[in-house]
Amino acid sequence: MAAEYNRGMDSELDAVFRMLDDAVEEAKSIRVELDAPFLRGIAIIEALPGNQSGADKTWVHRLLHVSDRHFAAAIRKR
């Protein structure tokens, strides 16, 4: 039973590793230019009222903390 489960996990993990390998390959080919629309978007984001000095970003901090805990709890299967 355990062996069957592990085989199931192995194939699932293999698929995940393949996806990660693909993502790494894809990353090498990504070219993002800081063109006018990109820079305009950055300017809009920086001008948002919630992004001015003094803004409370506690929610971001808490979200990242939860995310950290989630990934820290991951257990290596092989």
Binding site: K28, P37, F38, A43, I44, I45, N51, K57
Partner: protein, 152 residues
């Protein structure tokens, strides 16, 4: 600076990117570095240079060597929280970044954060795989933002 800092500009949870990297940009100032190291140690952090503990004594002389080499020192609480104490941000000097910083608050603590434009430009210059992935993800978020703006 870095992705951690960029996350503070997110307007919704779906734009917050998970990252293990926490980069603190410091001026190339040996005296300040000694104070920073001391503060880290007082807070229970260990200091690392590469895979080895940072040399001792952690004095002005050592800080001077670190500043000369623009070497990174990592502060670790040995419980998963690691902060890179960096003296370099690609394309920018400390004074420029500091002048245009935002100061956000987290649980009433003030956190100086590099401007988003500086963070993104720096990532573009670095151009590592993870930087390109970050830029591509950010570009999608920006395109969504611009589409929303046009439809409003």
């Amino acid at each position: 600076m870095g992705v951690w800092a960029a996350n503070y500009y997110a307007q919704a949870a779906r734009f917050v990117l998970h990252t293990e990297d926490r980069d603190l940009f410091l001026p190339a100032d040996a005296e300040n570095l000694v104070r920073c190291w001391s503060a880290c140690e007082d807070a229970g952090f260990e200091l690392w240079s590469g895979d080895e503990p940072l040399d001792s004594p952690r004095d002005h002389w050592l800080a001077g060597r670190v500043v000369e080499r623009r070497a990174a020192v990592r502060a670790s609480d040995r419980n998963g929280l690691e902060v890179d104490l960096s003296l370099v941000m690609a394309d920018f000097d400390f004074e420029t970044v500091w002048r245009e910083r935002r100061i956000f608050t987290v649980e009433a603590v003030e956190i100086p954060v590099a401007s988003l434009l500086h963070i993104v430009t720096s990532k573009k210059t670095l151009g590592r795989d993870k930087d390109r992935l970050f830029l591509a993800t950010y570009r999608e978020a920006i395109e969504e933002l611009l589409r929303r703006e046009q439809s409003d």
